[in-house]
Symmetry: C2
Subunit: 248 residues, 2 copies
Amino acid sequence: MRPLLTLAAAEACGGAESEAMPLACAVECIHTYSLIHDDLPAMDDDDLRRGNPTNHKVYGEGIAILAGDALLTQAFEIAAKCNAWPRYTHQDIVLEIARASGSLQLIAGQVADLEGEARKDVTIKDLKYIHERKTSALLCCSVRLGGMSANCTPAKLEALTKFGYNVGLAFQVIDDILDVTQSTEELGKTAGKDLNADKTTYPAVMGLEKSRREARRLTKKAFDALEPFRGRARALQALAEYLLHRTN
Amino acid sequence: MRPLLTLAAAEACGGAESEAMPLACAVECIHTYSLIHDDLPAMDDDDLRRGNPTNHKVYGEGIAILAGDALLTQAFEIAAKCNAWPRYTHQDIVLEIARASGSLQLIAGQVADLEGEARKDVTIKDLKYIHERKTSALLCCSVRLGGMSANCTPAKLEALTKFGYNVGLAFQVIDDILDVTQSTEELGKTAGKDLNADKTTYPAVMGLEKSRREARRLTKKAFDALEPFRGRARALQALAEYLLHRTN
């Protein structure tokens, strides 16, 4: 999903796929590293991912930790090797990835998620804090890197940021909904996990119907952000539509 | 030790400490991340580091994994924010750190170390492979970044590479020696660990005296590499001397 968003954002800004591809790969390295570490016994302790046993189930915890470390490092190597433009330099690109993945965004979200599991009083505000950092930050980064690879204007970068932020939040609300409505087989990961872990989720707090409405509201905000691209953002729109209607 | 090497290398090349300092910090972030992950139960399973309980002992495994991830990411943010020169750009600096820390160097060393623990037939050649990747790669990177921050010539960068490589190997041979000759209190980390884990070490394979001679030989090679700097590399020389004579 994230590399597709990078390529689609580049397309929306009139860029070439070949220029966006390395950054799409860097984004996927970051995402995969975060999943491998997130699935570890000391974190979410998950046995299944994308319908397959998780990394540590197959290779052991030590190798899973190192695989995540290697992918995180690889993302920066790829980013430093890509083509860059005067408007968006290697410095901008590396900073973009480092900030989205760093201690104020992705890691802060993971820490809050981990600490939330030990508490019973997690609010919707806490949940949004986590979703913004665990999901929106990297989705924003994914589309912004696509725009940067296409040498887009600052105004378009701003529009992509709004799109990525709202798609990220919508994505997480839908994730919460799917966890309670789908089977493990349909999801490709353990279903009902949040419920069993007594985790605060959107459906648990505001009910299923209201959660679905919230997901639609956020997706609409994402669509609205694409206005400046007019007809060029069809791929980005299609990806957002897919996110709203996905079943796993 | 590693940030001091960065500052000393910058000094040897006539650079300013203020220019080298961000890169010294980036190097320390990488080193500390690698220690936190290396101490985890799934890796070396160590309870003590620098005389204090290890990160996961104090904060739990989940937070220790995330602390390492955050420090690794932080290194790249710091590197991308430093000043850069036409000769050594942000691209060069980020690539330098990514390669030394990546799947062909630091991570490859950790994987080989982890796999070696399960085997009884680790040779001196295997051990050197591990030391080159687990230690020399980052020590090389530390001094090279110092040289880069001082806008040094390619010949001087080459000399720093040789120095860092040999200091790294010497450092590890001495680490092996200290593990069998010093107490836990003197080391600030658990002594005799390699011996108890039945790990292949230099003293175990070639004996203490030969290991000490090997450390001296490697340190001499490191000193010889500093010849092009003449009188300017006194701090680098002092650090190498300290490494050979340290007791913890």
